[in-house]
Symmetry: C2
Subunit: 172 residues, 2 copies
């Protein structure tokens, strides 16, 4: 096995090794089933790659993927979000989000502000520093998004997004 991946980077296939869903020792099923399982496996890989992309992209900003996800969620919400609210948006446990936001408040990126609708559950907002960071995030994220979509037809993006949303709804 002579591959050229750096020793400590996630080794993200795509080189000589590629997995196809072969049918071995088990009866063949519908091609759609194979298609779907193949898609699921590919989604796992794409997820990892996207996180790696984001981390590389935001390393200079001192962000990690957990952090820019939170910043993005807050920045995109018009109404204001609580910790469990962010968790719902990101599809994670509230405990996981709580831990991240606690550290980010300590680091001065976020603020807990009073929530008129709930005495205990504070609203999480961007501090001035957090807003600046978000703007910097946008500055690297936008060119990245544009660059990666310029050769992809809008219709394909729409079809994919629709299917992904459909699956999300299904598993929700």
């Amino acid at each position: 096995m002579a591959l050229s991946a750096p020793a400590n980077k996630p080794l993200c296939g795509g080189d000589k090794i590629s997995v196809r869903l072969e049918q071995r020792e088990l009866p063949v099923h519908s091609p759609k089933r194979v298609l779907f399982l193949d898609l699921v496996l590919s989604l796992f890989r794409l997820n990892g790659l996207l996180i790696a992309e984001g981390d590389a992209m935001t390393k200079q900003l001192g962000l990690t993927h957990a952090r820019w996800k939170v910043i993005g969620a807050i920045a995109l919400s018009s109404a204001g979000l609580t910790v469990p609210g962010i968790a719902r948006v990101l599809g994670q446990s509230r405990q996981a989000v709580q831990r991240i936001t606690d550290v980010m408040v300590e680091d001065g990126l976020l603020l807990y502000t009073e929530n008129p609708k709930h005495k205990r559950s504070a609203l999480v907002t961007l501090s001035e520093e957090g807003k600046e960071t978000y703007n910097l995030l946008r500055e690297v994220q936008d060119p990245w998004a544009i660059e990666n979509t310029e050769d992809i037809p809008t219709e394909e993006l729409e079809t994919t997004l629709r299917l992904v949303r459909r699956l999300i709804k299904k598993f929700n």
Copy 2:
């Protein structure tokens, strides 16, 4: 916020809360860019949901997502895989895979067998118990795959898979 998610489950939105990529305080960009960022966020959520699905599906088998990913990768490889090989297939670091396989060997699911091509790097194979587990895995996975695709046109699955693969190649 009156939601009905169990207290300790990943709170996977989709209910009243939905994030749309609004443009606030920043110039509007191409709709494609918004589409793409929306897709990325959705993929994060779908990834979490798929893992949760898989975990729920395989809980009775005593598997976790890290484990059925490994079992699946080994079962689908015709040539035999080393630890770094599995890592490449799954798009993860070899260290992470090594830890999982070590435990799975201890648990009797996997075997390290001699690798004629490499003195130090053993081939990871399924033990008898591992093969049984894989068959059980297939028994729950296949109906799941069929159930979740019966109302989705094959062409959409193909378009999505193609796009996902394209992105994988791009980030690889």
